[in-house]
Symmetry: C2
Subunit: 223 residues, 2 copies
DNA sequence: GCGCGGCTGGCAGTTTGCTGCCAAGTTTGA
DNA sequence: TCAAACTTGGCAGCAAACTGCCAGCCGCGC
C-alpha cells in the first residue's frame, strides 16, 4: 500500500485511524496483539459496539492477545466486557505496572503506536511498517506479556468492583431470600432480578449459586 | 398417687422409671423442663423413637424447655434431632458448663433427679414430690436456663460436626458441580445426594444454596 | 427363619432458577 | 426531532433442584 515501508505515517484521531488503517484490523489472519490501559483506548465506541454486538470470534489460526492494566476491570461493565472477549477465545492478561506505550502489532508486519492521551484535541497514532522496528516492538510486547498474569489468575484473588445494586442483591442472596421476594424488595421484575444474579455469578466466576455464595464470602463481599 | 408426698421414691433403671413414672411425662399440661447432657440421657431408645417418629408436638399451653450441654450437638444426627425438636416448638438452650445434675421438673409439682451415670448396672432415678424441694430444684433450673444461650445462638457461630461424606459434598458444591455429576462421583443416586444436600442445608441453617455456600465458607467448612 | 427399622434409589410432581425472544419504554446522540 | 442503542419486563420453554411416596435391600434381634 505504502510505496515506502520505512515511512511512518502519523494519523490524527481515531476517526482518521479507522478510515486509513481500519481495514488492517479486520484483515489480521495470524497474530493480533494489543496493549492498552483498558479496552476503551483502542476502538472508538462504534467499532467496539460492532465487535461486541456481533458474535465476533477470532477466526481459526488467528491468535488475539490483549494486555491491559488493572484499570480495565475498574467497574462491572468493563469486567464483563473482558469476560465476553475471553469467552470468545481472546487471550487476556493483566499487567500491574503501567503499560509503557499503547500498542498494536498485526501479523508481525505492522505496528500502531498511540501517542500520549491528549489533554484536548485528537490523539495521534503512528503506523509503522519497517520490519526491524515492528520486530522490536513486538519482542518488547511479548516480554511484557510473559511477565503478566492471565485474566483468570488476576481475577481469582480479587473481588470484582460491584455496583450498589449488585451488593444489595448479594446481601439478599446471602440472607436466603427467594428470587420472587428479593425482586419485589428491589422493585425489579423477576426477569431483571435474575438477569442481575446471572451477571453477578459471571463476575464471581461461579457455576452454581452455592459456589457463588462461597466466593462472595471469601472475597469479603458479604458484610 | 403416693400416700406420702414427702417420701422420695428411688427407681432402678430407665425401665422401672418408664413403668412407674412414665405416665407423668405424657400428662404434663403446663410446664415440662429438663436438663441433661444430651437427649440420650433421658428417654430410653424406644421412648425416643416414639417421640421422634410420631409428629409429636407440645400441646398448646404446655411449655417444654430442654437444657443441654454442647455434647448434645456432637454429631450430625444429634444435631438434627435437636433441630427437629426445636422445629416442633420445644425451647432448647445450650449450657456450656457441665450441668450439675440431670433433672426433670413437671408442672412445678414433680421433680425427677438422675443419679450419676453408673459404671455398670442400672442408673438410679429419684422422684420428688415435696413442694418446697420441687420449687427449689425448679428455681435452680431456671437460673441456669436464663444464663444459657438458645440453640440458634449457639449454632450461629459454631460449625456443625459433619461426617466425611458431608464434607465431601460441601467440597463438590463449593467447586460448582451439578447434582448429577456430584452424585455420580460419590456413587450415590441423585435422590440420595439431594437428601444429603438438604440435610446439610438444615445443619447450616440455610434457606438457599447461595446462603449455604456463604455459611459453609464463613464457618470454615470449605478447606 | 421371621419381622422390624433404617437406608437407599427410582419415580413423579412441584418449585425454583435460568435464558432466549420480543415488545415497549427510556436514554443518547446526531 | 428522529433514529439507534440500551434497559426493562413479560412470556415461554427448559434445566436444576426439592420432596413425597413407595418398593427393595440390608442388618438386627427375636
Amino acid at each position: 500500500m505504502s510505496p515506502d515501508q520505512d515511512r511512518n505515517v502519523t494519523l490524527r484521531g481515531e476517526a482518521e485511524l479507522a478510515a486509513r488503517a481500519g481495514h488492517l484490523f479486520g484483515n489480521a489472519h495470524e497474530e493480533f496483539v494489543c496493549a492498552a490501559v483498558d479496552p476503551n483506548t483502542w476502538a472508538a465506541p462504534d467499532v467496539r459496539d460492532q465487535i461486541l454486538a456481533s458474535r465476533w470470534k477470532p477466526p481459526p489460526g488467528l491468535r488475539v492477545c490483549k494486555l491491559y492494566n488493572p484499570a480495565a476491570l475498574a467497574d462491572e461493565e468493563s469486567e464483563r466486557r473482558l469476560l465476553t472477549m475471553a469467552g470468545r477465545g481472546v487471550e487476556i492478561r493483566i499487567c500491574p505496572t503501567r503499560l509503557p506505550q499503547e500498542t498494536i502489532v498485526i501479523d508481525r508486519r505492522i505496528a500502531v503506536l498511540a501517542g500520549p492521551a491528549p489533554v484536548q484535541g485528537p490523539r495521534m497514532y503512528t503506523v509503522v511498517r519497517s520490519p526491524e522496528v515492528v520486530a522490536g516492538v513486538r519482542s518488547l510486547y511479548w516480554a511484557t506479556w510473559e511477565s503478566s498474569i492471565t485474566l483468570a489468575e488476576y481475577r481469582r484473588g480479587r473481588p470484582p468492583a460491584l455496583s450498589d445494586q449488585s451488593r444489595e442483591i448479594l446481601r439478599l442472596l446471602g440472607e436466603g431470600f427467594k428470587d420472587e421476594t428479593a425482586a419485589r424488595r428491589l422493585s425489579l421484575s423477576l426477569r431483571t432480578y435474575r438477569r442481575r444474579v446471572a451477571e453477578i455469578l459471571t463476575l464471581l466466576d461461579a457455576d452454581s449459586r452455592f459456589q457463588a455464595g462461597r466466593r462472595a464470602h471469601e472475597l469479603g463481599l458479604l458484610n
